[in-house]
């Protein structure tokens, strides 16, 4: 028996923040005190609050330590583990709490979250099948083995689960198609290619709770009549792949994979196929081509994968998050509980990756129907640095932006689509007034242009031409006709592209023009980027009245463009200034303003 369980976040996010060194330091300290054997140390899955990583959570004490460094471990061990006293300095602190918060229940980031899909992440050792079983794992599978395949499809359909990969197609209906397709050979494919820049929802599930995916696929196999599955996981997720491989071996050992699963007349073989760095392989038909060893290019539909999928056989393709929901629904009494959460048209929860200018970045799981405002301000903690909210990009390169006056929009499939955005896989990029919407569209378009597979004319050529127009606008070479050209081209591409990548890649352009047309016009007609991003289209200017002459900006300037005496107002030499932004980051007086080029008219910052 262990005295305590020390859960160290070992997911990729915290690993990047240095959790390996933290855990090494912890072990060193424990060994120094000779008490290492008293405690169970687990490199766990992602608890979600990446902003404050590395994170260590101690049970049964229920203490959440964050922003840890290796040198903190001495204190943690001595004071908390040996001395029995919580180290307040290492608890969560922020403008949203009055006193340091001790555990999940008092940390505002977690207040409105509901852990369905992330129920095990951060709580179990991801490499232990026993812990997964203790938490109710594989019960749904046991129950499914006693059900008729069509009944499983119906139960999932009635629970209202919609595909979490972006399209939102009802999962139970999709399974029904494959169920009805003629056999005997069918496949289940898990789309773990997660290509949206900044998205890591699927990664966290795969790293933190790999058995949930196996169970989901097995239940799908039973429902659809499939006996083999592929998990198509991007190669950039080596930890996820490693966890999956271990989980598969364990499941085989426990007779939960392979032949005669749990003694029933049901066989299932699981394969892992690693991606090779192509965003387009997240598109289902390109993914299937890739599994077949071919170049990842989409195919026309019909026929749909449910009729003709991988190797020509009926195939169900589901996203990781979708599959992680399945055991919750199919377990005894699960469906009834499931439908209590969410809205009429969008049941359940959604995992979002909060990124950008929000204070609390990380992974959150919220019930469908929660408003954008709640996610950004309550969960996200509002805009960093106290700046103003401008818009949030939902759905990555396929999605659109939602401006401030739509903050009360509920997050569900249909509301988002009506507003010109999409749910997408769950990436939410929050933007403040220092984000240029033209540049944002340009960023996403340069991504899709590079990732376009090249097969169809509208996407291959059209994204390039749209990008060229945006480049010119950002460089001050835009002409008034550009907006109409962009609009026409974007609509033609949407109308005629072959696959989802092409059909949705104009969305960032269309939605930023829809809600921020004035910014485009300002770029084109007045050569001014008021967000201070498009370098040829603004100047930095120091407000002499408020400048205290602290010299912080001058010292930060790499090209010596700022001159001024100590305690005297400083001035920026526009000839030398490269507009790198280092000065404005350092200024404590908030007195560096963004102005039009060569003009006195300014914008208050």
């Amino acid at each position: 028996m262990y005295e305590k369980h020390i859960m160290i976040c070992g997911a990729t996010g915290c690993l990047s923040s240095g959790s390996t060194k933290v855990s090494e330091a912890l072990i060193e300290e424990l060994e120094k005190h000779g008490i290492k054997d008293k405690y169970r140390l687990v490199m766990s899955g992602c608890p979600g609050f990446c902003e404050v990583g590395p994170i260590i959570v101690i049970y049964p004490d229920e203490v959440f330590y964050c922003r840890l460094k290796p040198k903190d471990m001495a204190e943690l061990v001595e004071n908390h583990l040996v001395g029995g006293e919580i180290v307040e300095r290492l608890l969560y602190k922020g403008p949203d709490v009055e006193a340091p918060a001790r555990f999940y229940d008092t940390i505002p980031f977690y207040a409105k979250q509901k852990f369905n899909v992330l129920r095990n992440s951060g709580v179990i050792d991801p490499e232990s099948i026993d812990e997964y079983i203790m938490r109710g794992g594989y019960r749904a599978l046991s129950r499914a083995m006693e059900m008729e395949p069509q009944a499983i499809c119906d139960e999932v359909k009635d629970a209202g689960l919609r595909g979490r990969g972006g399209a939102g197609f009802p999962t139970g209906v999709k399974w029904g198609f494959t169920n009805k397709a003629p056999g005997p050979k069918k496949y289940i494919v898990c789309n773990a290619d997660e290509g949206d820049p900044g998205a890591f929802m699927d990664r966290s599930i795969l790293e933190g709770d790999p058995h949930a995916i196996l169970e989901g696929m097995l239940i799908a196999g039973r429902a659809c009549g499939a006996d083999e599955g592929y998990i198509y996981c991007r190669a950039e997720y080596p930890l996820a792949i490693d966890r999956l491989k271990k989980a598969i071996e364990q499941a085989k050992e426990y007779a939960l994979l392979g032949d005669n699963i749990l003694g029933y007349d049901f066989n299932f073989k699981m394969n892992i196929k690693e991606g090779a760095g192509a965003f387009v392989c997240g598109e289902e038909t390109a993914l299937l081509a890739s599994i077949e060893g071919k170049r990842g290019m989409p195919r026309p539909r019909p026929p749909f994968p449910a009729q003709v999928g991988v190797f020509g056989k009926p195939t169900t393709i589901n996203n990781v998050e979708t599959l992680a929901n399945i055991p919750l629904i199919v377990k005894e009494g699960g469906a009834a509980e499931y439908v209590k959460v969410g809205t009429e048209g969008s049941k359940g929860t959604k995992v979002f990756a909060l990124a950008g200018k929000v204070r609390n970045t990380g992974l959150c799981e919220v019930p469908m129907g929660i408003t954008i405002e709640e996610v950004i301000y309550d969960v996200g903690g509002g805009i960093k640095g106290g700046r103003e909210f401008k818009a949030v990009q939902a759905g990555g390169p396929s999605g659109g932006c939602i401006p401030a006056d739509l903050l009360d929009l509920p997050i569900d499939y249909d509301s988002l689509t009506k507003a010109g955005a999409i749910m997408g896989s769950g990436g939410l990029v929050v933007m403040d007034d220092r984000t240029c919407m033209v540049d944002l569209a340009r960023y996403f378009l340069s991504f899709t242009q590079k990732e376009s597979c090249g097969k169809c004319t509208p996407c291959r050529e059209g994204t390039k031409r749209m990008l060229e127009i945006l480049d010119r606008i950002a460089e001050g070479e835009g002409i008034p006709e550009d907006l109409e050209t962009l609009d026409n081209l974007a609509h033609n591409i949407k109308d005629s592209a072959l696959c989802g990548l092409g059909q949705t890649c104009p969305n960032p352009v269309l939605s930023t023009i829809r809600y921020f047309r004035h910014e485009y016009e300002e770029h084109i007609n007045e050569n001014f980027c008021r967000s201070g991003i498009c370098k040829p289209l603004f100047n930095y200017k120091i407000d002499a009245e408020n400048c205290t002459g602290c010299t912080a900006c001058a010292r930060a300037c790499a090209v010596d463009a700022i001159k001024g005496e100590k305690k005297e107002p400083h001035e920026i030499d526009q000839e030398l200034c490269t507009r790198c932004g280092s000065c404005i980051d350092k200024c404590r007086q908030d007195c560096i303003m963004i102005t039009r080029v060569g003009s006195e008219a300014d914008v208050s910052n």
Binding site: V123, D130, I133, R135, G137, S142, M145, Y254, A255, Y264
Partner: protein
Amino acid sequence: MEKFIDHCCEKCTHTKDKPCKDFVKCCVEGPICHEDPACADKRKAIIEMVALDDDFVIC
């Protein structure tokens, strides 16, 4: 019995090649095919090693 896959006693028949239908439920709530408090204790011991708190186990 160190892991759930290990047999609690000779009465247990679950193996990879000859699985038992009740295996999953039995891991936490077992033994199911026979009565034996000692076997139940073995399971509890496995659980106690890793359960973070009283709400850890979900049946």
